[in-house]
């Protein structure tokens, strides 16, 4: 996971860089919540461009972050989802509460987040 906070826009970009399963979510959960608490952004953007695999643990992770962000008054968005990950997101019904947004990949701010 890599992240970057853009203060002038209040945006916290979180680029997930690993396969998301039960093992990884244990670590990711704490890392993401720490970043949110640290910056208290206006919006959190979870970028899935590097995520090639996700199982139901990822659904729990995203839902948990949605609840956490709601509690601290932050919006949350998902972007750049690969087809295999999208299938599971669609099945879970999660997209009804957190829509997939497009158009961050060409942003210069986004480029600053590239490894």
């Amino acid at each position: 996971m890599k992240s970057r906070y853009v203060e002038e826009d209040g945006l916290l970009f979180i680029k997930l860089t690993e396969d998301i399963d039960h093992h990884e979510t244990e670590i990711l959960r704490r890392m993401i919540d720490n970043e949110v608490e640290r910056y208290m952004p206006r919006k959190v953007i979870l970028d899935f461009s590097r995520v090639l695999f996700m199982d139901s643990a990822g659904i729990g992770l995203i839902l948990g972050r949605y609840k956490f962000c709601k509690m601290v008054g932050t919006q949350i968005e998902i972007t750049n989802v690969k087809p295999s990950v999208k299938k599971i997101l669609e099945m879970s019904g999660l997209l009804k509460i957190i829509p997939i947004t497009a158009g961050y990949q060409n942003d210069f701010l986004w480029n600053a987040c590239q490894p």
Binding site: D21, H22, S56, A57, I59, G60, S84, I88, M91, S92
Partner: protein
């Protein structure tokens, strides 16, 4: 019914969460002999990941035990058995229900069995409380039609 398997493998590992990736990648590599599509391979990986995670967090909870996977190939079909000697499932019907989880505090989605059912063609649960749980899943690999044609051609040529 007695089946003749074209290939078979057995894998056993400790119920540690860092084995989840190892398990699904191994089964996917074995299944690749059937020449599945990328989507089918992703479905297999996801279903294995769900079943193995269940063994680790529900079957054995905080204790440690062994998780066993048997995978077999026959008639363009992948058959996977994933079992543990953990605590077993008290109410299988309840466990199967979408969104039901016995561990809501762990941020579990309750989607595990629903995903296994949807991503594979068949899914059976056998469980005895105090003895363990065995999940059997089957999936027909569609892209094997090419292989069928090839065999047919070979038969005619022979």
């Amino acid at each position: 019914m007695i089946r003749r398997y074209e290939n078979e493998m057995k894998l056993e590992f400790m119920s540690k969460s860092n084995n989840e990736a190892f398990a699904r990648i191994t089964v996917a590599a074995f299944a690749s002999q059937l020449d599945p599509t990328i989507e089918e391979l992703a479905d297999i990986k996801t279903a294995v990941s769900e079943a193995v995670t269940n063994c680790i967090i529900h079957g054995y909870e905080k204790a440690e035990g062994m998780v066993q996977i048997v995978a077999r190939l026959y008639d363009h079909t992948l058959e996977i058995e994933i079992s543990d000697h953990g605590k077993g499932i008290e109410d299988i019907e309840l466990a199967r229900k979408p969104l039901y989880t016995s561990k809501p505090n762990l941020e579990r989605s309750g989607m595990g069995f629903t995903i296994m059912e949807n991503f594979m063609d068949e899914m059976q649960i056998e469980s005895v409380v105090g003895m363990g749980t065995k999940i059997t899943m089957r999936k027909k690999i569609s892209s094997s039609e090419e292989e069928e044609n090839k065999q047919e051609t070979n038969r005619i040529l022979a």
